[in-house]
Symmetry: C2
Subunit: 304 residues, 2 copies
């Protein structure tokens, strides 16, 4: 790198650690990632994992700001960061949690998560992606969905997050497809698009049958009625359909901004399209960097 | 044993093997069990596992009937037994699958399972318990629920099984409470009865929120709002409530015969009582023996 690194943006989740070397004008100069997510580390191992990833970017003298979001701020993370309670603004200067480090070149701060009291819910990391989305796209966006292990739906209004709901859709798909009786029926990576869309519709219309319709996948397989590609797509469709049934208040009158990995966002896009809901897909990495950049600007140039 | 063993009843499921030495007048003379369930055995190991359990009951000369039901007849079992298709009678002589054994003292036969084509569903073992229930209690029973890893609901009419539905409730509880993010919140064995009943009601009324309300258990725990006994009871209640929502056609106009282990049947009894549904609990072991006895009578005294 010829240009100087001004600060470092860090997206530190349960299973991943991603870092971005940022220039003074907030361009990404370099990026690095590892599997040293929060769940893989014990207390006391976080600083070592971070330095292993970013040592080349550290200054010869002085401190550099490292701004991190995600599960690194959870109770089992590096240092527990606060939660802000909805409704709350996503753009104003946040109450960052300062981390004491042994290496005095580091000035590490962790962004707060967001919580909701009724019904109880929490997020760490997704709020930064939503803040990045609003910073990039403006305050006109009213509904955002972040599909994943724990999918989040959030309702936005003029830069505020009003309310949100988490669905364990991705985690349940992983458990059912690898640890349950269904694992025998869904070992393939092939995909049956038609079966997926039928199952989404079934899941949206009959969410009360989820525990039964998922077993039906096994029965169909035993009775020789279905291919594995169909079974896998059906399981995914039933679960996403059930999520969409529960999240109906979020999407029924609104277009939806999707922030998630390419393949999964494409599934949600197709499922929502079948319900006549417009979607727009945004890259999660770009949104995280944009959200962290916004906070960094407050710290580095507080007058802006 | 002083009295002679006339035949041997075997309940052979996924995780258990239970055998009963039966007298000529169908009294249980002795019983034995092991953990050599279908899932623990490779092809070729079934005969050895059976003899290890029942060797003391085998005759010095001649053959003895061993009548088995359950997952032993599955594709991954000893020998694949047939399925009968609903609607079908539970009392008439069945098409038993004969197993060739190396030990010529054994005359092993496996009962068929039952399948349904639309919607696809299967059972192996539960049909024998239902047959035992009807043999003991008469044909007046119209709805039976067998709670467990894969809960079954069946609609009966004059000795026929008309239709049935499987729900993955028990398996999902096991996965979510031990393998998911919720495992941190439900490590206790304590129980909050009030929270259970509230969650049943929530599950029945809002089955579309299952993937979200289950995550809420984790959020409540993180926000310090809930004890572990409450969290565990809530998870169980939400899942059973979701099952009851899906099974509503079975119980909405009928009293329900419950066949399941004592603790689990008691939960279903309480959940159904809160919905003003009458229940009667039957012992699963007694029902299995009664169902196998009925078939043995056809074989030993076909004129009856």
């Amino acid at each position: 790198m010829t240009e100087a690194v001004s600060w470092i943006a860090v997206d530190w989740g349960t299973t991943h650690l991603r870092a971005y070397a940022m220039s003074e004008v907030n361009v990404v100069l370099a990026e690095a990632q590892s599997t040293d997510g929060m769940a893989a580390l014990q207390t006391g191992e976080f600083e070592t994992a971070l330095i292993a990833l970013i040592s080349e970017w550290l200054p010869n003298s002085g401190r550099i700001l490292v701004l991190a979001c995600g599960m690194v701020g959870a109770r089992q993370g590096w240092v527990e960061a606060t939660y802000r309670t909805v409704p709350c603004s996503l753009s104003s200067g946040l109450d960052l949690t300062r981390v004491t480090t042994q290496d005095d070149r580091l000035e590490v701060r962790i962004l707060p998560g967001i919580c909701q009291t009724n019904p109880a819910d929490v997020m760490r990391g997704e709020e930064t992606q939503i803040a990045g989305l609003l910073a990039e796209q403006g305050d006109g966006i009213t509904t955002v969905c972040l599909p994943g292990t724990h999918s989040k739906w959030a309702s936005l209004n003029k830069g505020y997050i009003q309310s949100f709901s988490t669905f364990m859709t991705g985690e349940l798909f992983a458990l059912l497809s690898t640890q349950s009786i269904l694992c025998h029926s869904v070992t393939t990576d092939d995909w049956d698009e038609h079966a997926f869309l039928l199952a989404v519709s079934e899941g949206v219309e009959q969410p009360d049958m989820l525990l039964s319709s998922s077993f039906r996948i096994r029965a169909q397989s035993l009775l020789g009625e279905t291919a594995e590609a169909t079974a896998r797509a059906r399981l995914s469709g039933l679960l996403i359909g059930s999520e969409l049934a529960g999240a109906k208040d979020y999407w029924s009158q609104q277009s939806v901004a999707l922030i998630g990995d390419t393949a999964l966002s494409a599934l949600y896009e197709k499922a929502l399209d079948a319900l006549d809901v417009e979607t727009q897909i945004y890259d999660p990495k770009d949104m995280t960097v944009a959200g962290l950049r916004q906070q960094a600007q407050h710290l580095i140039n507080p007058e802006e």
